[in-house]
Symmetry: C2
DNA sequence: CGTCATTGTAAACGGTGTTAAGTTTCGGAA
DNA sequence: TTCCGAAACTTAACACCGTTTACAATGACG
């Protein structure tokens, strides 16, 4: 078996160090040498736990997906579908604004073929829960029965991703040199409310059951 | 003046070569050495025309913004605001799907502080034209007079960016290894229609003037 | 006809991901 | 108790990257 006792948590520590760099310097700031420096090992040691940098980033992102999904879920405390949709929208945006580096790594990094099945599965977790909320609204009679819950879920997702992506990148309300971060936050959250208002107005059942 | 006659179009050729690489290999595939190889000069020569790689990418992106804006404008042939909004949505998505590498460079690349004022100005061109279309709809009496045209414009932009970004990245309908490209196109365009339907339903004036 | 700014290059620097080869360490069999 | 071998870990190197420095070639102009 193992002739030399290794640190059993080393793989986990490597991922934590990587996640820290992603937030401090962005996805482009991650280098194998910097990760090694932080964990106190040589760069080559990382390759004992991860095949290459892509796999390291992949596992880092998969852990973040679970954190992201759990965080949003924990904020959806309301009992009605309407409440949960609004809470989900603000939680999604808030997480992205608080973790911009990780958000970019999760949703805007790498080539199409580089996404692992695990990551795709993790990403779909939130989608399925959102769809359940839409269907809850249909059951509760607040959304029209003709509403396609899959399309409605996609509508919510693309709008929230677009808002978060543009707000993070500085391409929507200007970069930090021009507009203060809290001003961007305020305007982005106001737009999240406008989006939620639009969905609810659009999907509301004209005649309650 | 110039003692040695230089190629007067070299700067433009450098940008063209860069744009070609962006589409073939993505923004991460651009290297000064590869650009130099394609134009038949040494890497050092690029620095006679651009201060560094960031400035080269910046000018490449600025040229693309104009192309992008012109392309969308040329597709908005309808006379009514309703027509133009739907045409604009499909044109936006189609351009992104046809030029995914450039789209990523334009909207998802680099740090917040790296965006030049020129690029910000170019990006706002489309936004202002979209707002004019919304206001045209208000004047035409098809949109409610209480509609905030700035908010409505942001709503359209974030939704179309989110849809395009996710469709390009393979994170929405699966990557090319799983789902054929034309299937992604079809579903994305269907969602663009759903988005347009939602906006129009939401903004329609309840009592026409 | 020589001056000299302009155009262009080769070579190098410190950085990157990754690999090949070597060293250290220790559980467990003899 | 010794010592073998496998696992853990490192050093040195490779080819690549963006960028800079030093240098050579060119040709318009005084």
């Amino acid at each position: 078996m193992s002739a030399r006792p290794a640190n059993p948590h080393l793989a986990s520590e490597i991922i934590s160090a990587t996640a820290a760099i992603v937030e401090e310097r962005g996805p482009e700031g991650v280098t194998m040498r910097e990760v090694a420096r932080r964990i106190g090992y040589s760069p080559t040691s990382i390759y004992l736990h991860f095949a290459n940098k892509d796999e390291l980033l992949d596992q880092t992102v998969n852990r973040a997906y679970e954190w992201f999904a759990d965080e949003i879920e924990s904020r959806q405390t309301g009992t009605s579908a309407v409440e949960r949709i609004r809470q989900g929208a603000h939680a999604y945006l808030a997480w992205g604004l608080a973790n911009p580096g990780m958000y970019r790594l999760m949703f805007e990094w790498g080539y199409l073929g580089d996404i692992s099945p695990d990551a795709i599965f993790a990403r779909r977790r939130s989608w399925r829960r959102n769809r359940q909320i839409v269907e809850l609204g249909i059951e509760q009679g607040v959304f029209d029965r003709s509403l396609d819950s899959a399309v409605a879920t996609d509508v919510m997702w693309v709008a929230m991703h677009g808002l978060t992506s543009l707000a993070i990148s500085g391409r929507m309300y200007g970069n930090p040199n021009m507009v203060a971060a809290d001003e961007v936050d305020r305007r982005a959250h106001a737009l999240a409310d406008a989006l939620a208002d639009g969905w609810l107005a659009d999907w509301t059942a004209t005649s309650p059951l």
